[in-house]
């Protein structure tokens, strides 16, 4: 029986192997840069930035809450775009990127929710407050959960990727509607108190660490997306020749020892 592991036509544009090797070279630089930027941002925000007049030091949570919220939302769009590219050009690599992006976005959304809740305690006295942003973040978490659980429910991996991509696209169309309607609903019931995460005209000393943290989170997202995609590539391509050679060289076991 002919083993079909290495015919070339299977790898069309953006072959997973090419992605695996090129990103392999980026990883060391990217991880150093991410670590550096995150540490600078954290130290700057925690220790050196002035405290907020009204909220005191608890406002420092903004340095992780806002970047996490940005990345959670941006992550959903990145996932949906990867799914769309996979659907249109039927490219396996972009389906793998989509599958890798889902859990990252979900964890970032959880971080945004958790830090928002902890931040709510000193400012409003309760952990959970139905603030417009936090409610929209909660719905975003459900959207992520939907895409992830749909992908694990299918037997065939191709059908799972296509279904996940369609749901991600439907979600993308709905996110602006959800955000606007939750805002509208929030202002309907609540006179416009301060929004938790609207960046008031912040003092530059407070605002600069926030920008550094946002940059740090974007670098972090790229790093983790690459890591996740690479391991997804290995899982999907474990039967192909190049993965076997890689496994051999990595494990240092010489194939000919068996003869």
């Amino acid at each position: 029986m002919k083993v079909f592991s290495n015919w070339q036509w299977f790898h069309r544009l953006g072959s997973p192997r090419w992605f695996y090797q090129t990103t392999g070279r980026w990883l060391p630089w990217l991880s150093v840069a991410t670590l550096l930027v995150l540490i600078i941002g954290l130290v700057w925000g925690l220790a050196y930035a002035p405290a907020d007049a009204k909220q005191g030091n608890s406002f420092r949570i903004i340095y992780i809450h806002v970047p996490a919220s940005f990345l959670a939302l941006a992550g959903y769009y990145i996932m949906a775009i990867a799914g769309a590219v996979g659907l249109i050009w039927r490219m396996k690599l972009s389906f793998m990127v989509m599958k890798a992006a889902a859990p990252i976005g979900a964890v970032l959304t959880f971080i945004a929710l958790f830090t928002g809740a902890v931040w709510g305690k000193p400012t409003w006295g309760t952990y959970w407050v139905w603030d417009a942003r936090i409610t929209s973040m909660l719905i975003l978490l459900f959207l992520y959960a939907g895409v992830m659980s749909l992908q694990y429910a299918y037997h065939s991996v191709d059908a799972a990727s296509k279904a996940g991509a369609i749901l991600a696209l439907v979600g993308t169309v709905n996110i602006p509607i959800i955000y606007k309607s939750v805002d509208w609903w929030y202002t309907l019931h609540q006179p416009a108190t301060i929004k938790l995460t609207s960046a008031p005209s912040m003092h530059p000393d407070m605002f600069q660490p926030l920008l550094v943290m946002i940059l740090g989170f974007y670098l972090f997202y790229a790093l983790v997306l690459i890591l996740n995609t690479r391991s997804e590539i290995l899982r999907r391509e474990r039967k192909t020749g190049w993965v076997r050679e890689l496994a051999q060289s990595k494990s240092g076991f010489d194939a000919r020892a068996g003869d």
Binding site: F4, W7, W9, F10, R90, S156, D158, R236, E237, K239
Partner: protein
């Protein structure tokens, strides 16, 4: 006959989750041909048929109807095609007549003979106005076969059409195929039984070879 064949398959390949079911399949089927697809279970007979109907998209290669890729001439191809799968697509709560009326409207084909004549032809004369849940599986099959008599589609794709029908039904199906082919139609079917028809082209999916029965 027009210069390009009624149905031509070029270098067709299909992979499911990185395991390749089959590749490099080339076929040319003209009007008047009956092509029987052979192969062990799991060799992809149903998958090939569903690729031909356009329900599945091939990983490589193309399927052409009268020379144009089926993705481009969607309406003409589908209007001239009839597919009967493993299940007869019969709604149990509807009567046989209602089922057929819906199927014909769905396939948008003008019909040759009326629904009731077709039902009497397939031996369901007295059963046409009672709900299908009272009928047997074989009779459900006959409702699906009645579609063959009604439809004017030139391409027939039949997946194991002989399952669950009795001897008389088998003869009826043979005569249908014979008439259809003599009118210049084309049949691609997958079955394990030997067809009692002459010059049936047999195509073995695994060996990719073809021989005349």
């Amino acid at each position: 006959m027009s210069q390009s064949p009624l149905l031509s398959v070029e270098n067709l390949a299909f992979e499911r989750d990185d395991s390749c079911l089959f590749d490099a399949i080339d076929l040319t089927v003209n009007g008047g041909d009956i092509l029987q697809i052979e192969g062990a279970n799991g060799s992809g007979k149903t998958t090939l048929l569903r690729l031909l109907t356009g329900a599945l998209q091939p990983s490589a290669g193309s399927i052409n109807y009268l020379g144009c890729n089926i993705a481009d001439c969607r309406y003409d191809y589908f209007a001239n095609m009839l597919y009967i799968g493993h299940q007869p697509a019969v709604k149990l709560n509807l009567t046989a007549e209602e089922n057929l009326r819906w199927m014909v409207a769905n396939a948008a084909q003008s019909n040759q003979i009326s629904i009731s004549d077709a039902l009497t032809e397939v031996g369901l004369a007295g059963y046409s106005d009672i709900p299908c849940y009272t009928l047997s599986a074989g009779q459900h099959r006959r409702v699906a076969l009645a579609r063959l008599l009604i439809s004017e589609a030139r391409l027939w794709y039949l997946d194991e059409p002989f399952t669950a029908i009795d001897k008389q039904g088998v003869q009826l199906l043979h005569s249908c195929l014979q008439q259809h082919v003599s009118r210049g139609g084309l049949v691609v079917l997958s079955t394990h039984q030997d067809l009692a028809l002459n010059n049936v082209r047999k195509y073995n999916l695994l060996a990719r070879t073809e021989h005349i029965a």
